[in-house]
Symmetry: C2
Subunit: 332 residues, 2 copies
């Protein structure tokens, strides 16, 4: 039994906290909103982010991050990518050297375009950082649907330790040495998910969707390899697996946005009508910038970016993608 | 304009013949069944294999293979994998050296376990053989849905020539140097499609499906690499792309069989009730045999094979897959 601190009580943080508590660990969950703390402690339910799911007994919540971290043998970070730096800065100074920090945060930090594990390493240099990612709708993990994910770290022992702490008979954890590839796959797939929504909104079929997923993965892989990741990581659970889940599973916010764009809504209209912006919007901008920085061609991300930010017609974008010069399947 | 001979008038052969005729080529289609020849020539429709689709004018059909091949500048082979050798043996002797032969046949020859391009090379050594494959439901290609496929050959010029002959604004053709990887992906994906049907039949969700597709691709890749293929081919259109199409698109025969197995039908019951057996049944047997021959672990193919041939319970098979020893994501 390990004492575990979970930072962030969104649906994914809450689900993993519950899974760890069921695995016999003592889990303390830090939530930003008082309402979430209150509902978890009094009703054993996160009424805001994971409603109608009864949480395990060994799980308590608080809004005091210092209290959560005291005496923890493992920290799970499930904070949105834009807030990781600020939250950890406030608490990292008091943490012991060599503590295992598992990041379940997806997405790149706005501005710096850094993945979460890099941000964690900067504000908390003493941590042994592991990235946990893979195709996993939180609700299905909560329901006990068979799920496979990946724990990645340059520190092999830390990755294997994470594997042991999280794995159950229904939550299978593989390990890998490529955290960068894992994080890039998890972030960039959201841009391709917007594109999948656009195809759906245009009324297109299964052939175009399969082509989009494959060619989308190809360009994510090219970018990742240019940035130093292992190409095979993108063919794994955190690349292809997560992309397939997001592009063919139930409608995500990113795909919903894509459908709306294809039906003629502008990003501004869509944003005005929704409380939260899909994560892929910022990632589309980041991808284009990273493509320029690393000299990598990203035709799909570029078209999505032009649809989002330059009011390009989705039908025109599909046509432009199909009519590019004929190529070899693998190119840099 | 090229004079093209198409051998095999199933839905895929007919669709490609129609596409080539629309590309301005003179296309002659060889069909095994007199009924198919008759309906194409008199009604411009393949009433048996592609009903309710009006075929292009430049397309004629015959049951005389010699007549089809006379003067052809390109041969497209779309014959089922078990019949390729017999059909080509009868005609190859009269064909000119260096003729381009594009194989759209998926699957391995029963007994020899050889992919179609290898069989073609044996009976017709003078041909320049190119493999054409990728995520493509025939009906969607006929409808003009944007589709991307791959033309693969060890002969780069032949692959590029095929690309030029087939490509349209809606049918995008990439080229590759790895015909073996392309053919193995196209054949082995049917075993994973049976497994996807089994998960559906058990009422499982999107997380398990994404895990299955990814881990299924991982084992196909391991086998392919052991047999001499390029690992990146399996992350492309003819590997991942075709697998995603078959496992998430409309119900194929392989997935339908999987659903029936999960609902308690035996292979014998299912076979008795259906005119044709799903291609993945033979391929599951072949995969296990190839795994032994090349010393590669294929846990999913093995479970599918045990369900098919040893009456193993599907629920038990899923449990056994999830409870294997925890592993690194990439292993040989």
């Amino acid at each position: 039994m390990t004492r575990i601190a979970v930072l962030g009580a969104g649906s994914w943080g809450t689900t993993l906290a519950d899974l760890l508590a069921r695995n016999g660990h003592e889990v303390r969950l830090w939530a930003y909103e008082a309402e979430v703390v209150e509902s978890i402690n009094s009703r054993r339910e996160n009424t805001v982010y994971l409603p109608e799911c009864r949480l395990a007994e060994g799980l308590t919540a608080t809004s005091d991050a210092h209290a959560v971290l005291g005496g923890a043998g493992l920290v799970l970070c499930a904070i949105p990518s834009h807030a990781v730096r600020a939250v950890l800065k406030g608490v990292a100074g008091s943490l012991p050297e060599g503590l295992l920090c598992v990041s379940a945060t997806k997405g790149l930090e706005p501005g710096s375009l850094k993945p979460a594990s890099e941000v964690i390493g900067e504000v908390w240099p003493g941590a042994r950082v592991v990235v946990l990612s893979g195709p996993s709708f939180a609700m299905e993990v909560f329901q006990g649907q068979p799920t496979a994910v990946c724990a990645a770290s340059r520190d092999e022992d830390a990755a294997r330790e994470t594997q042991q702490q999280f794995a159950t008979a229904r939550f299978r954890v593989y390990w890998s040495r490529d955290p960068l590839g894992v994080e890039l796959g998890g972030a960039l797939k959201n841009v391709i998910a917007i594109a999948a929504g656009i195809l759906e909104g245009l009324g297109l079929g299964f052939n175009p969707r399969a082509a989009l997923i494959t060619r989308g993965l190809a360009e994510i892989t090219r970018l990742g390899v240019a940035m130093g990741a292992d190409p095979m990581t993108f063919a794994g659970l955190t690349g292809m697996g997560d992309l397939v889940l997001t592009a063919t599973g139930q409608l995500s916010r990113n795909r919903t946005l894509g459908v709306a764009l294809a039906q003629g809504q502008s990003l501004a209209d869509y944003t005005a009508a929704h409380r939260t912006v899909a994560e892929g919007v910022g990632t589309a901008r980041a991808a284009v910038e990273l493509g320029v920085r690393f000299g990598v061609e990203l035709p799909i991300c570029q078209q999505v970016s032009q649809i989002l930010f330059e009011a390009k017609s989705p039908a025109e974008a599909v046509k432009d993608l199909m009519e590019r010069a004929l190529k070899m399947e693998q190119w840099r």
